[in-house]
């Protein structure tokens, strides 16, 4: 956990009073909507179909129990009793009143939470691996660097009015859980031959209308140079990124139009000017940030405690454990993923009651810490193995023990036409129907790892391009239709999916997906060949044939 110091606290308090003043000026008519819109966006406030929507940052996905309780409080007091966890380690509230927002922000600021730059054409919430600091084999905790970047990007005087939004993601593990290749800047932490910490820097990834996988701009940037290098990239982008067309304004388009070599040259030239400026991170500065992260004092625990051995006789417990419990870097502990994808539920939603209950469980079983991942699930990162059976029972009671993590019903979905003013089609009811179709755990287990991603329009908030199965809502003559792609992935082997055939109407989507899955079961070489590998081996054609033969 990172603990705010006086400086951090002062800044967010000052931000709250600034926004309070801005809202007051808006409601008195002193500011027009045109002037106010960017100001509210920079505080995470959108206007959606039914109301304002409020997006709160959960930097690098780490939350304390106290913070989670405060989010529950905001849901209850200012909203309709629930929140939606997004793919970028944010939580959204769908029904907030503009007039209440300053108070909601002030309540959050008390526990060190803010919504700065969760929207708008600035650097967004810096995301990271939800298992940071606890994953076995991690090079080092990427959150130290995420926090350094969070501070550096917050209210940046030069980069608060970029051509378009700008997103960072950082990973320090071999397996990329932060989807760095689909971010504007992706950072892979690793060490050079001298054992010094640095980053492979990737640039120009993104989805939306023009999906592109990020390219490596520099294989190793020393940790001390991270900020100057990033500043060089952003300065080049700020000056040369397109501003004439919002669909061409992301850095990916600039990188694509210039070519990565030319873009890298521009950055390099700029970087040489500022490399030795005040942006150079002194060891003491890095240490200072590091020292404000606290880690649990783990006990010395057995690898296989009696409680676990006993509980193994309960098949329901075993099913959950195998699905949702992952190895921890410390012996005797586990990481527990909490699925927010109950059968028939809206993906990523949690009620205030669930948040409160989970905060209590985190206090009891996970040193008061909770994580938020890009798959729209939560995690308890430090659970003693001997507590697993008790935790499972408690989670089950509050509807948070669905054993479907990484399975076909663990669907990532954007809000779609039920909430979003940009949507062509609904996303959530499609996800809900699919979770019902695949509600049988044995079937889901048999299918194995399979990610379905749904977006309600081409903005791709549900990452449909990189879903093993991607579903994209489009509109045809006023009706909801859906394009289906297969073969995408978001991890270190990131790839974009391929369309398997003509778009299908709302009522047929679930049938088509069932057919795709059946085709996979028939086509896979062995029971361990994952869906994504079968698509890789055979291509799209055999799937197309089977699924569209009768359509």
């Amino acid at each position: 956990m990172y603990a705010y110091d006086e400086i951090d606290r002062t800044l967010i308090d000052e931000r709250v009073s600034e926004f309070r003043d801005q809202v007051k000026r808006r409601l008195s008519g002193e500011l027009t909507e045109d002037e106010f819109k960017m100001l509210r966006l920079q505080n995470g406030v959108y206007l959606q179909l039914h109301a304002y929507m409020f997006r709160v940052a959960i930097p690098y996905g780490t939350l304390s129990s106290k913070q989670l309780r405060r989010l529950a409080h905001v849901a209850r007091r200012y909203d309709r009793g629930y929140g939606h966890f997004t793919t970028r380690q944010n939580i959204q509230f769908n029904w907030i009143k503009l007039a209440d927002l300053p108070d909601a922000l002030a309540d959050l600021a008390e526990v060190g939470i803010h919504s700065m730059q969760t929207s708008g054409n600035n650097t967004r919430n810096v995301t990271s691996d939800q298992w940071a600091g606890v994953a076995p084999g991690e090079v080092e905790d990427p959150r130290i660097w995420s926090e350094i970047l969070r501070q550096y990007t917050t209210l940046h005087p030069e980069f608060s009015f970029l051509p378009r939004k700008f997103k960072f993601a950082i990973t320090a593990s071999e397996h990329d859980r932060a989807a760095i290749k689909i971010h504007d800047i992706g950072l892979r932490l690793h060490k050079n031959e001298q054992g010094e910490t640095g980053f492979e820097v990737l640039v120009g990834g993104g989805l939306g209308r023009t999906p592109l996988i990020a390219k490596t701009i520099r294989p190793f940037v020393h940790g001390r140079d991270l900020l100057s290098y990033v500043e060089a990239i952003m300065r080049v982008y700020n000056q040369y990124g397109r501003r004439d067309n919002i669909y061409k304004a992301r850095i990916k388009i600039l990188v694509h139009e210039l070519g990565i070599e030319k873009f890298a040259e521009e950055v390099e030239e700029e970087w040489q000017h500022i490399r030795n400026s005040d942006l150079k991170l002194e060891a003491a500065t890095i240490e200072d940030i590091r020292s404000r992260f606290t880690y649990p004092t783990y006990a010395k625990l057995p690898h296989m405690p009696d409680e676990l051995r006993k509980a193994a006789h309960d098949p329901l417990f075993e099913r959950w454990r195998k699905n949702s419990v992952s190895p921890h870097k410390v012996q005797g502990y586990s990481i527990v993923t909490i699925s927010l994808k109950p059968v028939g539920g809206p993906p990523g939603d949690a009620t205030a009651e669930q948040m409160d209950a989970l905060a209590d469980l985190a206090d009891k079983y996970s040193f008061g810490e909770i994580r938020v991942g890009h798959e729209q699930n939560l995690a308890l990162p430090h659970v003693a193995k001997h507590d697993l059976p008790a935790l499972w029972k408690a989670l089950d009671k509050i509807g948070l023990a669905t054993p479907n993590v990484n399975l076909v019903s663990d669907i990532i979905a954007c809000p779609g036409l039920d909430y979003c003013s940009l949507a062509n089609a609904r996303s959530i009811p499609i996800a809900q129907e699919l979770t019902r179709r695949f509600a049988n755990h044995d079937t889901a287990d048999l299918i194995g790892r399979l990610h379905i991603n749904i977006s309600g329009c081409i903005n791709a908030c549900g990452h449909h391009h990189v879903g093993h199965i991607g579903i994209l809502g489009v509109e045809k003559n006023g009706e909801e239709f859906y394009q289906i792609t297969i073969g995408g992935r978001a991890d270190e082997k990131a790839e974009l999916g391929t369309l398997i055939g003509p778009s299908v109407p709302y009522n047929e989507v679930a049938d088509v997906i069932e057919d795709v899955v059946e085709a996979y079961l028939a086509l896979r070489a062995t029971p361990d060949e994952l869906f994504i590998d079968t698509v890789k081996r055979l291509g799209v054609e055999p799937f197309r044939e089977r699924v569209y033969a009768t359509r």
Partner: protein, 171 residues
């Protein structure tokens, strides 16, 4: 439009010249980049001060050689959402050591004053009278800053190190 300089609303002693207007004998003038570049010498030779309005989509390279003899560089915000001039301002101040007046023009609104100050602007062609009047209040909104820029304010990383030193000194 009120001009804020040194934190206060003040008289603009520069006259903005259209590209085809005759050059007056006396008095400080503000000209477009196009007019300036067409014949820099004729403008620089005058005994009165010169200001140049530099567009935000043009590299500073053509301006840099003349900076020592230019009193005002006016950078442009066609809308407040177009942030290119922030980069130009920092480059002028921090890389090219421009010490004259750096003036923000265009859609200059209250809620960007702090960013502009931090980027190196010290004069503001403010769009609304009420915003200009609120300048003094508004720039006090923030007392802490995370990033080092060339504006001389102590950024958080350095402030923290200082605090640490003084803490350890007082032990």
């Amino acid at each position: 439009m009120p001009l804020v300089r040194g934190g206060n609303i003040s008289q603009d002693d520069f006259v903005q010249l259209a590209d085809d207007a005759p050059l007056p004998e006396k008095g400080a003038v503000l000209v477009s980049a196009a007019r300036f570049l067409a014949d820099p010498q004729v403008l620089l030779q005058r005994s009165d001060r010169l200001g140049v309005i530099w567009p935000n989509n043009r590299d500073l390279d053509d301006l840099v050689p003349h900076l020592e003899r230019i009193a005002v560089v006016a950078l442009v915000f066609p809308t407040f959402r177009d942030g290119r001039a922030y980069s130009q301002a920092r480059l002028l101040r921090e890389r090219y050591a421009f010490r004259g007046e750096l003036r923000a023009t265009g859609q200059v609104l209250r809620d960007q004053f702090v960013f502009m100050l931090r980027a190196g602007f010290d004069a503001f062609d403010v769009k609304k009278q009420t915003d200009a009047e609120a300048f003094g209040q508004t720039v006090k909104r923030y007392s802490v800053f995370y990033q080092p820029t060339g504006d001389g304010r102590l950024a958080a990383p350095f402030r923290r190190l200082q605090l640490r030193h003084s803490e350890s000194a007082s032990l």
